[in-house]
Symmetry: C2
Subunit: 430 residues, 2 copies
């Protein structure tokens, strides 16, 4: 890892070291994705079945997984794993239930009742990538809040053949339908519907560049579907002082690095000596990792930044606006109020990212690529929407009526004024 | 207005009558907007000054309005108007202050603290269109929640020459800077910054097709800025039963129609007789409107749908998912629980849309074009973002550690498992 002394950098360099790599030109991906979307819109299930053979090398006869298959998956899962999943389930459920929106209702003026209410998004689609590491934990992170929010229909898509733990979690969370379909085709099917896939209003979940492009495309189409957020490469920033355990810090940096070659890993610490200690530990731990190859590629372009004090560490972190922010200092909570932008914050030596990724209860779907400056971590509100209500009594209407007529007139909105004045007039006549 | 009996329609017709008109092909607009954006990115203030002359026919020497000019605007405003603005201000403030997010903090497992916190979006830009009707009310709707949310910098842009009431409202709400610039150029300046315009993180506010396209473009660019929502033509759906006042209903339909030729106006009622009464009233009131021309064009493609009962009325409304939903029935509140999708709901004869547009306290920035199925009415949360925090004590960590290691192993995430296990090991050694 490159070690940089922040104070020795000029303004441009300071900005440069926190810059994320440019997202690769995607003209080719864009073209392929558009073709896949059109094919699914045109041929529906037939296209999906062909794509399963072409991309996932699996022959399937139907898209929908039977309820029996889903239930049978449970039998094939290790007892210890089931127990661990249930523990995670309970914590995630508790944290998201605590987010249930309490309606807001008040009289702004006597006789003028105003309310803010939520309504669930009716139909949601959850996408879970296939591949080597079956992300069953993401099923929990998406399906639990969907259920709590009260979504009427929750469907899940994942490439064939779907991992047993994914099916187990879907069943545990009360997912209504599971479809074996993957990639851009799955996103198209969720956005537009097919013979056996129900069209949904909003699509959630991670995916590769094809899935990301497909999500961008269907969300830009008014006939398509809304999406949770645009996902970039995963990232972590660790702030550590001299009290931190270099071994722990190194293990957290590597947790992030193993996600992929494009993972972003940054350590901000307070001395070159500590920086070197962590760097040595990273090299040591890296040797024994199953995903050594991937993690090494990420580590190569990762940086350790030496700040002059904790205040400057926070400044660097806020400029970067990380997805995951781990704070391993003597008094981690003292830094919390200074954090302006982060997806999820991990306080202290015993709060490694793994905890939030799986089981502390917080959601692991987080904004990346600096989007924490404007976007929220996935939370219950993403599965519902808010509407306002107003109800004026005759007295309340009279209290505001004249003012509203004046305001409408000043904006040259005659009919708005008229709608008020003819009511005022009718009340006088009574 | 066309009168249709819902029961006489087939499924395709039912869908067809609720379809919004396709947004016009915008290739030409798109090209012009892209040129304007590039010009502002390249030449900054110089480009904006040229654009003011070209599009707004105004010669300006600087973009920023002085604090003196802002304060002087107040002196030129009618006393009655000022009073009305202040009344609106107070109600909007009360309703949005009631939305302040109370942090969520709980232990999901003993020793595992999880929190959901908000942080304001640092810098926000508010765009207020120019034109005939200066939308000073929109200044209130955007700047009041921005201030309550705690945004550090609130700037406002509007085409030269800016209306006095707009400046008055900006000052009243505590806007930090006002820039005289309009259209796509203003959006580009807010998204990228210029010599005198501060770059912001998120842009709010309505605008014409050029502004809408510019907002779409800068929000798709990771170096640009986030936006509030994509705005389509404004729309209203009124549900009325036999107890409704046809005159009132007609005035509400026209309030919507006067916004523009592309405004969407729908009435759902329970008899042809009532439909005809409202239609006659619409024609009568239309005669005296200042914006008769615009409103007539909207009314031509508007529809009255006769439903068989209130339940079917709700079904129609939910299928349409209107921006504004006005309910003028004998017991309007009884329908509230059946409303699945709406931006803002107006209950009863004395809650015309004008009230919410100006002064009841609710926000008048609402999703259009059916987006109420997935999007919220503008509210305080749009000016901030949520982040999660977790802090595990040693005991809390021990309670979850083993399970997390099992989960990470099942997802083949070795380093995640390692980050937990080396901590567990170090605790045993102590």
């Amino acid at each position: 890892m490159e070690i940089l002394i922040y104070e020795n950098l000029n303004q441009i360099q300071k900005k440069e070291i926190l810059r994320r790599p440019a997202v690769k030109a995607k003209d080719e991906i864009s073209k392929i994705v558009e073709e896949i979307i059109q094919d699914v819109k045109k041929r529906g299930d037939e296209a999906l079945i062909e794509q399963a053979l072409k991309f996932d090398k699996v022959t399937i006869s139907s898209i929908k997984i039977s309820q029996d298959s889903i239930k049978n998956a449970s039998k094939r899962i290790d007892k210890e794993l089931k127990k661990a999943i249930k523990l995670a389930f309970e914590n995630i459920k508790k944290f998201h239930e605590a987010q249930i929106f309490k309606k807001i209702k008040l009289e702004t003026t006597k006789g003028v009742k105003c309310e803010l209410l939520t309504r669930p998004i009716e139909k949601v689609g959850l996408y879970i990538p296939g591949g080597l590491a079956p992300l069953f934990s993401t099923v929990l992170m998406l399906a639990i809040p969907a259920k709590i929010a009260g979504c009427e229909k929750i469907v899940l898509a994942s490439p064939a053949k779907i991992n047993d733990a994914v099916l187990f979690c879907a069943n545990l969370c009360g997912v209504d339908e599971v479809y074996q379909m993957g990639g851009a085709g799955a996103i198209a099917a969720l956005a537009y519907g097919t013979q056996s896939v129900e069209k949904v209003d909003k699509i959630f979940g991670p995916g590769n560049a094809f899935v990301t492009e497909a999500k961008a495309r269907v969300s830009a189409d008014i006939e398509g579907a809304d999406i949770d957020m645009q996902a970039g490469p995963s990232e972590v920033l660790v702030i550590a002082d001299e009290y931190a355990n270099a071994q722990f810090v190194a293990s957290d940096l590597l947790s992030q690095a193993e996600h992929g070659a494009d993972s972003q890993v940054l350590l901000v610490c307070l001395s070159e000596n500590f920086a070197q200690k962590v760097n040595d530990e990273v090299q040591k731990q890296l040797e024994n990792l199953a995903r050594k190859e991937l993690a090494s590629q990420s580590i190569v372009h990762s940086k350790i930044i030496v700040a002059k004090n904790l205040e400057q560490s926070l400044e660097i972190s806020n400029a970067y606006a990380p997805e995951h922010l781990i704070i391993q200092t003597q008094k981690p909570r003292e830094l919390l109020s200074g954090i302006k932008h982060a997806g999820s914050v991990f306080l202290g030596a015993y709060s490694p990212e793994s905890m939030g990724d799986y089981a502390s209860g917080t959601n692991h779907v987080l904004p990346t690529y600096g989007l924490t400056k404007t976007h929220s971590s996935l939370n219950l509100a993403d599965f519902s929407k808010k509407m306002t209500v107003q109800e004026l009594s005759v007295k309340g209407f009279k209290r505001l009526g004249k003012s509203v007529a004046i305001l409408a007139a000043a904006e040259a909105l005659d009919a708005h004024k008229n709608a008020v004045e003819l009511r005022l007039k009718s009340l006088k006549e009574k």
